[in-house]
Symmetry: C2
Amino acid sequence: MENSAENVRSQMRKGVLEYCILSILDKKEAYASSILEELKAANMIVVEGTLYPLLIRQKNQGLLSYRWEESTQGPPRKYYCITEKGRQQLGEMDVAWQEIVDTIRTIKEQQI
Amino acid sequence: MENSAENVRSQMRKGVLEYCILSILDKKEAYASSILEELKAANMIVVEGTLYPLLIRQKNQGLLSYRWEESTQGPPRKYYCITEKGRQQLGEMDVAWQEIVDTIRTIKEQQI
DNA sequence: ATTAGTACTTTGCGTTGCAAGGTATTTGAA
DNA sequence: TTCAAATACCTTGCAACGCAAAGTACTAAT
C-alpha cells in the first residue's frame, strides 16, 4: 500500500502527464507506443493503461486529432497530432507549469 | 465542466501539494489556517476541504505530529510539526521533484 | 495452424482535490 | 444576556486520474 519512493513519484506525475503528452505532440505527430518510449527515455515511466485513456480524453476535448496509418510490421497505428485548440491549451500549461515551479521555489527559499 | 485555465492549474497541483505541506512544516510548526495563508502567498491556492484531510492523512502515515495550543483570539489551534519519518519522506520528494523538473526540460528541449 | 510480436482498448480499484455544509470556541456589540 | 461575527477544525459526496490486469485484433514467421 505504501511503496514510498515509487509512490511519491507516481503522485507527482499526476497532472503533469497531460502536459508532457501535448509537449511531445507539439514537436511531431506520434502513436501511443512511440510516445511511451519517449516518456521512458525522459525518465517518466508510464504504462499503457494510463496513456491510452489519456489520449482518448484529450482527443474528445478537441486537443488532439488522429489518423490511421498502416505499419510494415504489425497492426495499423493511430497517429495523434495536436490541434489548434491543443496548442492553445499547451500555452496555458506552460504558464501553469512555470507558476508551480516558482511556487515550490518560493516555499523552499524561505528556509534559513 | 471545462474551466481550462483554472482546471489546468488544479490538475498540476495534484501530487505537489503534499510536497508543499512537508516543506512548509520543515521550516517551522504551523496550524492549518496559517499553512493556507503561506500557500496563498506562494500562489498555490488551496481550500480547507483539501488541506484538512491531507494533514490527517500525513499524520496517520506518521509524517506529522501535532499538539493543541490555546489562542488569544478564537478556538484552540492544532499545531502540526514534521517528524523524523516526515523529513525522510521530504528528502525523497526533493529528489522526485527535481526528476520531474528535469523530465519536462528534457521533453521541451528537444524542440527545434 | 500456431506462436510471437506489435498495437490498441477496457474494467475495476484506490487516491486525490474540491464544493458545500457542519461543529465548536471566543469576543464584542446590542 | 443574547446574538452575530470571527476563527478554527471536520465531514460528506462527487468527479478525475493513474494503474494493474486482462482483453481484442492484426501481421509475420515458423
